[in-house]
């Protein structure tokens, strides 16, 4: 049985203009000890789907799921209070912007000790010792001194290490990282990714890595979900997604990765157009408007998920037998 199993998750936001269907029926799973990448543009529903599972959405959000199971527990059945016991202890979360994700008026120590004391019910002194150990694990020098400092005394990279320290403080089974490197300098990005990679191996934690950077996915993950317009358009192992991508959107993502190896001056190929309006999502495939291989049927009927291997699925009409030869596959 998988650590996290989600069946047909739908999340909508009520706003003045109507209902934004941010997540439109996605199903996926996370295995024990693996790291799953979720890739897609801003607004494709990556973060919202994870926040939905953690019941951390604002009040104007509504979510439904046929089935959400974490570590053998049915999350559909439990209320927010019980969920809170799992948050921070069994599920740790790392956010995008370390500059704004730490409380500016509390010391780093307070913020790391807090989840430890809430979930493990140990003394203040023991929790402090544990916090020092964790700061060592995330490679923050002189942790005893650093505990008493405030976030503004830390650099961006150091703050993200603190965020990671908070997330792993109670040895979670699942670590959700929402674009953990987007707000950091490139050199710091690599350090943070290395750290997460080490931690994952040491702690046997499953990681869900939300990002729009395929490079990060290639380095960190075993499997990838490609999200577009609130749906999963393709899912597969790293190898399958990078070497046998089947969905035109995945092709576009891969073509828009800059390469430095060839030496030739190559233009990046962007995906033209912009993501669909999720207040009135398209009837058929959400990518139709931007897809250079779009057919008549794409506009009218949403494509079914087609299973290509045990791990590889994609939702595209091009894979229908009648559409063979319409498009040429892209590989790296």
């Amino acid at each position: 049985m998988h650590l996290l199993q989600v069946q047909n998750l739908r999340t909508t936001f009520r706003i003045d203009a109507g209902q934004v269907q941010a997540v439109r029926g996605i199903s996926f799973y996370v295995k024990k000890g693996e790291s799953l990448g979720i890739v897609g543009e801003s607004g494709s529903g990556k973060s919202v789907s994870m926040l939905s599972i953690m019941k951390l959405l604002p009040q104007n959000a509504e979510l439904q799921a046929d089935h959400v199971q974490f570590n053998g527990q049915d999350l559909n059945q439990i209320d927010q209070k019980e969920m809170r016991k799992m948050l921070g202890s069994e599920i740790g979360m790392i956010f995008q912007d370390p500059m704004s994700s730490l409380n500016p008026l509390l010391t780093i120590g307070d913020q790391i000790v807090e989840p430890i004391r809430i979930h493990q019910k140990i003394s203040k002194e023991a929790a402090r010792k544990k916090a020092i150990d964790i700061l060592r694990i995330v490679e923050i020098p002189s942790p005893e001194k650093r505990l008493k400092q405030y976030p503004h005394e830390f650099s961006g990279g150091m703050r993200q290490r603190v965020m990671i320290a908070i997330a792993i403080s109670c040895n979670p089974k699942l670590l959700i990282a929402d674009e953990p490197t987007t707000a950091l300098d490139v050199t710091i990005q690599a350090q943070i990714l290395d750290l997460m990679h080490d931690l994952k191996n040491k702690m046997q934690t499953s990681i869900v890595m939300i990002t729009h950077d395929l490079g990060v996915i290639a380095n960190m993950c075993n499997r990838v979900l490609v999200m577009y317009g609130g749906t999963i358009v393709e899912e597969g192992t790293i190898r399958e997604i990078f070497y046998q991508p089947k969905h035109p959107y995945t092709w576009g993502l891969i073509k828009s990765i800059p390469t430095v190896s060839t030496g030739k001056r190559e233009k990046l190929i962007p995906i033209p157009g912009s993501p669909p309006d999720l207040i009135a999502p398209p009837k058929g495939c959400p990518f139709t408007a931007r897809c250079e291989y779009a057919m008549k049927i794409c506009e009218k009927i949403p494509p079914q998920q087609i299973t290509l291997s045990e791990t590889h699925r994609a939702a595209c009409w091009l894979m229908h037998p009648k559409a063979s030869g319409v498009a040429k596959e892209v590989t790296v």
Binding site: M54, L87, S100, S101, L102, N103, P104, I118, Y150, H152
Partner: protein, 308 residues
């Protein structure tokens, strides 16, 4: 830190000097004086002259001004022109504790209720609790407190005869003056707190706290409140100064023997030394309060560095 205090001190001295100068000349430009013969009792001209000489009123204005400053430097605020053998220093020593006591209670009440109302309406944004609190706050801000105190007095003292109308001899005497004093500040603090709280609850670190499994009451009272309270601290300086030095209107309406009442009657009587003395006292008080607030900032928010 020491350099900062010294700098602040000299800036405050300059402020006080300007304040005293303006008050002095404005006060003397009001028609009439403390011994004007416009009263019912006719005072013989010779007596009037003697009295003016005793208080130095016969001197030219600029000489009086310099004399006043000289005495002030020695901490002497002079004698009241109207109350026999009472110095302004004594007047403050008597009146200020009374004003301060009523004021402190009112500040405590205003902060407690104001902050709570603000938090509740921010959390229940758009719900009936929010609407009720904000309608209450709007009323509180729009009704001037001289109207409010008179209304309170009419209902509670005259119509229902529940509470006494004047003096300060039992706890019952405190109820109406404290409500009268704190009503406006409650409304103001509630509105300030609401908008500040709404702003803070949108911040990323609130989501971080929730993702750590922190219970909601702790998210609100530990993570959000500390951040949201900073604007209230700003308002605290002028508020404390205004409340502790007594509200002119409230003390007058309820006949509370505080310095606010002394000030109002001082102006009516052209009691020059009382007007000036209390102005100096209020001025110093407000400056000191604002200074304390600046220090408080640095204590609450470690990012604020006190500039040298």
């Amino acid at each position: 830190m020491v350099g900062y205090i010294v700098k602040r001190f000299f800036a405050s001295l300059l402020t006080m000097f300007v304040l005293i100068t303006i008050t002095f000349f404005l006060m003397h430009s009001i028609p009439g004086g403390p011994f004007s013969p416009a009263e019912e009792r006719k005072v013989p001209a010779s007596v009037l002259q003697k009295m003016e000489e005793k208080f130095g009123l016969h001197e030219p204005l600029h000489v009086q001004y310099v004399n006043y400053l000289k005495n002030l430097l020695q901490g002497d605020l002079g004698f009241s022109f109207k109350q026999l053998d009472v110095s302004v220093n004594e007047l403050i020593a008597q009146g200020f504790p009374i004003s301060a006591k009523v004021g402190l209670i009112a500040i405590g009440l205003a902060l407690l209720i104001g902050i709570l109302l603000g938090i509740v309406s921010a959390i229940k944004r758009g719900k009936w609790a929010d609407w009720t609190a904000m309608i209450f706050a709007t009323i509180g801000i729009s009704i001037p407190n001289f109207v409010l105190t008179v209304l309170l007095m009419f209902f509670f003292c005259v119509m229902f005869k529940l509470l006494p109308t004047y003096g300060l001899t039992s706890w019952k005497h405190y109820i109406l003056p404290v409500i009268g004093l704190s009503f406006g500040p409650i409304a103001y603090i509630a509105r300030l707190m609401r908008s500040s709280m709404l702003e803070v609850m949108r911040q990323d670190f609130i989501l971080t706290a929730r993702a750590k499994g922190v219970p909601e009451y702790r998210v609100i009272f530990k993570h959000a409140l500390k951040n949201a309270i900073i604007p209230i601290v700003t308002y605290l300086g002028p508020l404390v100064a205004a409340m502790l030095t007594g509200s002119f209107i409230v003390e007058r309406v309820f006949s509370i023997p505080g310095i606010g009442r002394d000030f109002v009657s001082g102006i009516g009587d052209r009691d020059y030394s009382v007007i000036l003395g209390l102005t100096v006292f209020f001025g110093v008080f407000i400056i000191v309060m604002n200074f304390i607030v600046d220090i408080l900032y640095a204590i609450i928010d470690k990012r604020v560095k006190i500039e040298e």
